[in-house]
């Protein structure tokens, strides 16, 4: 019962977020609870924030989870941990593509071009490359243990370079995202320019997408683990 009820809860939450994010009007002086404020320079484009930021956030979360389980695999040599890391990588790749695409669309309307090598665009591009390289590495190795070990090592090495992209690069390079080194219009959008209802939808969206990620991740690693067990059973007879 509990299992079904939280799935229904998640469905309702994401349905509400999607409807609210797309359909709630943006007005100059919001009075009703369902009205969003007009943010200068963003206007109607502001609505994509409910879908772009969660995907970018989940890209990072998926990568973090995958690194944690890679580390765990190296300590325990338990192939289940590798399955968890791998499935998180797969999901991370999906969210990474989504974040890149939604970001590019937003950039087209906000900054005038799909791609402009803003520091954060460079970072997400690097993450895309890291994910791609991990898949290329995995598909090139036959032996299960070797594949798990090498991809765990690689994702740990890749992980230590991520802080350079996420925290250092945007600070030293000229950027267009809020929070960049030369950002003059006063800091992150989230704190200053959103009103209560916008923040509510924003954080609901973050929570909803995060639950969605963990659900998908659980399904996907369980599938991998069961499939491996079944394979071994069939081979041994």
């Amino acid at each position: 019962m509990l299992k079904i009820s939280w799935k229904i809860f998640l469905f309702l939450l994401l349905a509400f977020v999607s409807i609210a994010g797309i359909a709630f009007p943006i007005v100059e002086n919001p009075h009703a609870w369902y009205e969003f404020p007009l943010i200068p320079g963003l206007e109607e484009n502001a609505k994509i924030i409910f879908f772009h930021v969660p995907t970018a956030w989940l890209t990072v979360v998926a990568f973090l989870v995958s690194t944690v389980y890679s580390f765990k695999y190296l300590r325990t040599k338990n192939l289940d941990d590798d399955a968890k890391a791998y499935s998180s990588t797969q999901l991370g790749m999906v969210f990474c593509i989504l974040a890149t695409v939604t970001g590019a669309v937003w950039a087209k309307f906000a900054w005038g071009s799909f791609w402009s090598w803003d520091p954060r665009q460079t970072s997400i591009f690097a993450l895309l490359l890291i994910y791609g390289a991990l898949f290329a590495l995995r598909s090139s190795i036959e032996s299960e243990d070797k594949r798990a070990t090498l991809s765990a090592v690689y994702s740990l090495i890749a992980f230590v370079t991520v802080p350079f992209f996420i925290f250092i690069m945007p600070r030293i390079m000229k950027g267009l995202h809020p929070g960049s080194a030369d950002d003059t219009n006063a800091g992150p959008v989230v704190n200053f320019k959103m009103n209560g209802s916008m923040q509510l939808i924003f954080f609901l969206s973050l929570i909803g997408f995060t639950i969605l990620y963990f659900w998908m991740w659980r399904l996907s690693y369980k599938t991998i683990i069961y499939r491996d067990k079944l394979d071994k059973k069939l081979i041994r007879g």
């Binding site: 490359l129 890291i130 390289a133 070797k146 070990t149 090592v153 690689y154 740990l156 090495i157 370079t161």
Partner: protein, 221 residues
């Protein structure tokens, strides 16, 4: 008494002198890459900013063509198992790292000399800054490409996979080094470039630590 990693380096050095595989392929690759750029440029005047970037393009691809030899050759000759029996993983890594560092330094010095000879706009106005960033960048390049070479060798020496795996790891280093090279060409003072220098130093230190920690897992299987 000679340390073990030094003797391992000597072994690599002598076998390199005998076959000259890495040196020959690196030298030819440098010539090929630079001449492709020269042909592409033609009679156009290359701007200063562009030469700084192209400098690192050549360095990256040259490194990718030759630095994987260190570990791949051991796997190809079937001597990896003997090495595993004879010495500790960290010793092996140190030996290979010293060899690759020397290789990277030779290769990049040649590239820098060729660049300043062939490109009119490649004039280094702040030599101290160029030298510091060059040395730090070379260390980073050697460290990262050595650890990735170890992964590649265990993955069955897939040649095409090497640049694919190395590029995301090297990207922070390359971006910062391109920036530093531009600073050196502009004549920016070291004081102004200290953030970039700090990034490269921390990159080197982090990659060195992580490589030593993780090499055990790659090497023992």
């Amino acid at each position: 008494m000679k340390s073990k990693s030094y003797s391992l380096f000597l072994k690599d050095f002598h076998s390199e002198l005998r076959t000259r595989y890495a040196i020959n392929s690196l030298a030819m690759f440098i010539i090929v890459a630079i001449s492709v750029i020269m042909f592409a440029v033609g009679q156009e005047k290359v701007s200063e900013g562009l030469t700084g970037g192209l400098f690192w393009v050549v360095i990256f691809f040259t490194a990718m063509s030759g630095l994987s030899r260190a570990f791949v050759s051991e796997e190809e000759r079937g001597t990896a198992l003997t090495l595993q029996l004879l010495s500790a993983p960290s010793t092996v890594f140190s030996g290979k790292l010293i060899f690759n560092i020397i290789l990277v330094f030779c290769m990049n010095t040649v590239i820098a000399l060729l660049y300043s000879a062939l490109f009119e706009t490649f004039i280094i106005r702040n030599f101290a800054l160029f030298f510091i960033s060059f040395v730090l960048g070379n260390f980073g390049l050697a460290i990262s490409s050595t650890i990735i070479a170890a992964i590649i060798a265990k993955a069955g020496a897939k040649g095409t996979l090497y640049p694919v795996l190395s590029f995301p790891i090297l990207l922070p280093l390359i971006l910062t080094s391109v920036q530093l090279t531009l600073f050196a060409l502009d004549g920016t003072s070291i004081e102004q470039a200290k953030y970039e220098l700090a990034i490269v130093v921390s990159y080197d230190v982090i990659m060195l630590t992580v490589s030593y920690m993780l090499f055990d897992f790659i090497w023992k299987d």
